[in-house]
């Protein structure tokens, strides 16, 4: 019975999502209450589940004899599930206000809620097949969200998105097959499942496959050279971009990479090989590349999207250090980046929603009109830069500490890349704030008439996130104690 709850938290959002267009709601308000209630209920269930963790696995159904869709909750999964469940209700609240304008709300919220379930499915996967299954599902159910506006741009973006996703999945598939063949089991086991006896002298092939598989899963985290879909997908409504493309979808990518690296292939066979160097080089390139593109970009949301590209590779960098500490750093950044990026995206959304400005050069002087939003935006920018006292610093610190600890020369280069990226982040984030607050002496504020801070629904989410950045930044001990426990199984 205890294990059943894992199925429930995955299926409940899916079911309630599917019901949205079918239920006869009298008005919008009712529908929103229904959605939020369902999401919160599910989050509560998830946290309940995390509190008393079910030990045994739960099998949903079987594809073939040994291939099944089954769930199990372990430390890593708990972190991810907890993060997702904490963010979803807030993001949904924000979406209510935002989506007023976009139309087709029912279908939007249908897929939006289903995505919740699918993401949890990834978090709870017991084996690589289940994870792959939900990984593909996620691409599918998020597709309508990106297409949502159905404009030409959105259609093109969704196409690009899907091609990348399928391509990624196709290569990830190869990895899965290898685990199926050369592993002792498909399940995730800390330290990997590869059967050295079966591999024999084929280590190089395994490494190649790892690289392919890594690239495949990291398509979702928009790793260079597979990164261009993410900024394009920025055409989606902001709650989608924020939640899915800063949190759920892309973090899933990172999460899957963690699973594959630490729980399937196992770091022992990978550490110090050309495979590690290859992926690390890719990751380092992405860190710098994403930032540079962000710097060049003048579209507000796209700039944030490029920033996401870079920050996701921070997480991947932690992963490819391939030590428990690296994983810890990666997890830390995964959590904190979620908070930071969702906050900055929401700010961008609020600005676009209230002021109708999409490009950065249009933001001059807005800081005076929407001070709360811009102050929070500046805070999130500083957090992304890694100003001490905000959460970005903590995660960066842990990543760098892990890199230095690993005594790997390339990881040192990675540390440098992290810092270069931090500098570039400072440039692209703070120029926005400076523009907004200091538009120049003779700026004519009358052009911005009628623009003001958004209502409490949007502000609440923003303030909660901003507060979270400080709390985590100043008092990260408990979080990392928890992460220590998670990675302890790897030692």
């Amino acid at each position: 019975m205890n294990a059943m709850i894992m199925m429930i938290v995955v299926l409940l959002p899916m079911l309630s999502g599917v019901l949205i267009p079918l239920l006869p709601f009298k008005n919008r308000r009712q529908m929103l209450i229904y959605i939020e209630a369902m999401v919160i209920l599910n989050s509560v269930l998830v946290f309940g589940m995390l509190m008393n963790r079910p030990e045994e696995a739960f099998t949903l159904f079987r594809f073939t004899g040994n291939l099944s869709v089954s769930f199990r909750l372990d430390g890593l999964g708990s972190v991810f599930a907890g993060m997702v469940s904490a963010l979803w209700p807030l993001a949904t609240l924000y979406a209510f206000e935002y989506m007023k304008h976009e139309g087709h709300e029912k279908y939007f919220f249908m897929f939006y809620t289903i995505t919740f379930g699918v993401t949890l499915g990834i978090a709870l996967s017991e084996d690589i097949l289940t994870m792959y299954f939900f990984f593909e599902m996620l691409s599918l159910v998020t597709l309508p969200l990106i297409m949502h506006t159905l404009s030409r741009e959105a259609i093109l973006a969704s196409r690009t998105y899907f091609y990348y996703m399928i391509g990624g999945a196709a290569f990830a598939f190869i990895g899965m097959i290898f685990i199926l063949t050369y592993g002792t089991t498909l399940d995730f086991v800390p330290g990997g499942v590869l059967d050295l006896a079966k591999i024999g002298d084929k280590t190089d092939v395994i490494l190649l496959v790892y690289v392919l598989c890594f690239c495949g899963f990291s398509v979702k985290t928009a790793m260079w050279p597979f990164s261009s879909w993410l900024p394009k997908a920025g055409v989606a409504p902001t709650p989608v971009t924020a939640l899915l493309h800063a949190v759920a979808v892309v973090k899933t990518g990172a999460f899957t990479v963690m699973r594959v690296t630490y729980y399937s292939f196992g770091t022992d066979i990978l550490r110090g090989t050309w495979a590690q160097y290859t992926v690390m080089i890719l990751v380092i390139i992405t860190i710098v590349y994403g930032c540079s593109r962000a710097l060049k970009e003048t579209h507000f949301k796209r700039r944030l999207a490029w920033s996401t590209v870079s920050n996701l590779s921070y997480i991947l960098f932690g992963v490819v250090i391939m030590t428990p500490m690296g994983l810890k750093g990666a997890l830390g950044h995964m959590l904190f980046h979620a908070v930071m990026k969702i906050c900055s995206f929401f700010c961008a959304g609020a600005i676009m929603y209230k002021a109708g400005k999409h490009y950065i050069y249009e933001l001059d002087g807005l800081g005076r009109r929407m001070p709360k939003v811009f102050i929070i935006f500046t805070i999130s920018g500083m957090a992304l830069m890694g100003v001490p006292g905000l959460c970005g610093f903590i995660s960066k610190w842990n990543l760098a500490a892990a890199a230095v600890e690993s005594q790997n020369l390339l990881a040192y280069v990675g540390v440098a890349a992290l810092l270069i990226s931090a500098l570039l982040t400072a440039i692209y984030m703070l120029t926005i704030s400076v523009r907004a607050f200091f538009p120049g002496k003779d700026f004519d504020y009358s052009t911005l008439r009628g623009i003001e801070d958004p209502n409490w629904m949007m502000m609440l989410s923003l303030i909660v996130f901003a507060a979270a950045m400080f709390v985590f930044g100043l008092h990260s001990g408990p979080v990392f104690t928890m992460l220590d426990e998670v990675v302890a199984v790897l030692k």
Partner: protein, 507 residues
């Protein structure tokens, strides 16, 4: 001898004779007869399958009780029985789904002729599945060719006749080679019954005598059947034949006819030559290379195509490439994957053809890519069905395509040298599949207002919504196909075990 054991023979004869019978019936009656025959044969095949599974072993049915090596034999194992059942199901659904098109596109007086062809086709397919005699197989290959040609050209416009001619030419080249291969083999072994030939070949192989002629014969037969089943680069006839013929024809041709030849090839590999000998020969490497090329090139052509029917047809080229690649791996796992793919592709491709026609119905009859804009909203079921089919083709978990992809990949890992090319080809091909199928799906769900109308051949006011009630038959067929796909995708285990058993009975 149980009465059930007569069923394979009865079903071949039944469909064979219902053909001439149809010629004297009116179109409507012929249709009834046809549906009845397919259903009866389906039921009989199911009974045979149950029997074989129950007894756990194959049986040989000697025609006219002449013993081997003189008599003609039918051999029934669980794979054969399942194939017969499956082909009946697909054919029935395709016939149901394409009913409206047939009535619209075929001249009233020629309606019954169509059913002759379908019945003959069914009988030839059944014979290809069941027969244990190589020359009988050849004869039915030709019957198959002729009736398929009839199916293509029944919609009598220039395109279809031209397509039929091209189809005939390629097919005849293929059957010429097949015949020559069979003659060689007969020359070498002195037998026509598969089991006898196998014994003889085994002896030849062990002694090492006549190695080259044996290989030549194997090569001729493989190439002949490869041409007939449209393996790249012999696929030139295929897009026209599938793309312009009437719906049922396209569905049947793509999902069954080529599969019949492939099944025959499997039988030749396992029952006639012996798979270990085939594996040692270089023939499978050739098949592998062409299979991989087909996987990629078929998809590339499909991407370039603007006509949805032809696009699906090109996709068939790619899928047949998958199947031959599976053979080419040279492992039993590879062949199992291929057979599974035969089944999954048959189920998916006919689904796609029927769904595509539902979509074109809602787009003023045009198959042009731009005209399909928003059709998913106008014909909801067809839209969903097409999406399901596409996802299955792309290899999305839950649908049949995923399982076959999984099986192929697993098989590939077992083969040392072909592992990486196969896996990478699979990955690339998946992406390419996604490119054209998902492009179409997205197009189906793009609202009209966002698309420049100058690319469209029809006016937007000509479009109308198609509901399920308006197309009851097609809807039933679509729903069945979708369920079939899901069933294959979600619980493939019994089927895979059945294929394994069947192959075991072959050897």
């Amino acid at each position: 001898m149980d009465f059930v054991q007569n069923f394979p023979f009865i079903s071949i004869i039944l469909s064979l004779f219902s053909g001439p019978l149809s010629s004297v019936l009116s179109g409507k009656k012929a249709k009834m007869v046809n549906v009845a025959v397919i259903s009866i044969i389906g039921v009989m095949s199911a009974a045979v399958l149950a029997y074989v599974l129950g007894s756990g072993q194959e049986y040989v049915y000697t025609m006219g009780h002449f013993p081997a090596p003189w008599g003609n034999e039918i051999r029934v194992g669980c794979l054969e029985a399942f194939m017969a059942l499956f082909f009946c199901v697909i054919m029935l659904l395709s016939m149901i789904g394409g009913q409206k098109e047939r009535e619209a596109e075929i001249e009233k007086t020629k309606q019954n002729l169509y059913y002759i062809m379908v019945n003959l086709l069914l009988s030839s397919l059944l014979a290809l599945i069941y027969t244990n005699d190589l020359f009988t197989a050849y004869v039915f290959v030709e019957i198959n060719t002729i009736s398929a040609c009839g199916l293509i050209m029944i919609k009598q416009n220039g395109r279809t006749i031209e397509a039929a001619t091209r189809y005939m030419i390629m097919s005849l080249l293929g059957s010429g080679l097949l015949l020559l291969g069979i003659c060689f083999l007969y020359d070498l072994t002195g037998h026509l019954l598969m089991s006898n030939i196998q014994e003889a070949v085994r002896v030849l192989h062990d002694t090492g005598a006549y190695h080259i002629p044996l290989m030549v014969s194997l090569g001729l037969m493989s190439v002949g059947l490869a041409i007939k089943s449209a393996l790249y680069p012999f696929h030139a006839w295929l897009p026209d034949a599938y793309g312009y013929s009437t719906l049922s024809s396209a569905a049947i041709l793509s999902s069954l006819v080529s599969k019949g030849y492939i099944f025959l090839l499997i039988k030749i590999f396992f029952r006639v030559i012996g798979f270990d000998i085939v594996r040692d020969s270089k023939v499978i490497n050739v098949l592998f290379v062409f299979g991989v090329a087909g996987m990629i090139m078929g998809s590339v052509s499909a991407i370039k195509e603007n006509n949805i029917r032809r696009m699906i047809a090109y996709s068939s080229v790619a899928q047949i490439g998958y199947i031959y690649m599976g053979f080419g791996l040279g492992t039993t796992a590879g062949v199992i994957a291929s057979i599974y793919h035969v089944i999954s592709h048959a189920a998916t491709k006919s689904l796609l053809f029927v769904a595509a026609s539902g979509i074109t119905d809602a787009s003023a009859g045009s198959t042009g890519f731009f005209d399909l804009t928003g059709a998913g909203y106008r014909n909801k079921l067809a839209g969903v069905a097409f999406t399901v089919g596409s996802l299955s083709m792309v290899g999305f978990p839950m649908f049949s395509g995923f399982i076959s992809k999984l099986l192929f990949a697993q098989a590939a890992v077992g083969s040392t040298h072909k592992m990486l090319p196969t896996l990478i080809a699979l990955a690339i091909s998946t992406v390419l599949n996604a490119v054209y199928f998902i492009k179409t799906v997205i197009r189906l769900y793009t609202p009209l207002k966002y698309v420049p109308t100058e690319n469209m051949t029809h006016k937007t006011d000509e479009l109308f919504t198609v509901t399920m009630e308006q197309q009851p038959f097609k809807s039933v067929a679509l729903i069945c196909f979708i369920l079939l796909n899901l069933a294959l995708g979600l619980s493939s285990e019994p089927l895979i075990r059945l294929i394994q058993n069947g192959l075991g009975m072959f050897a």
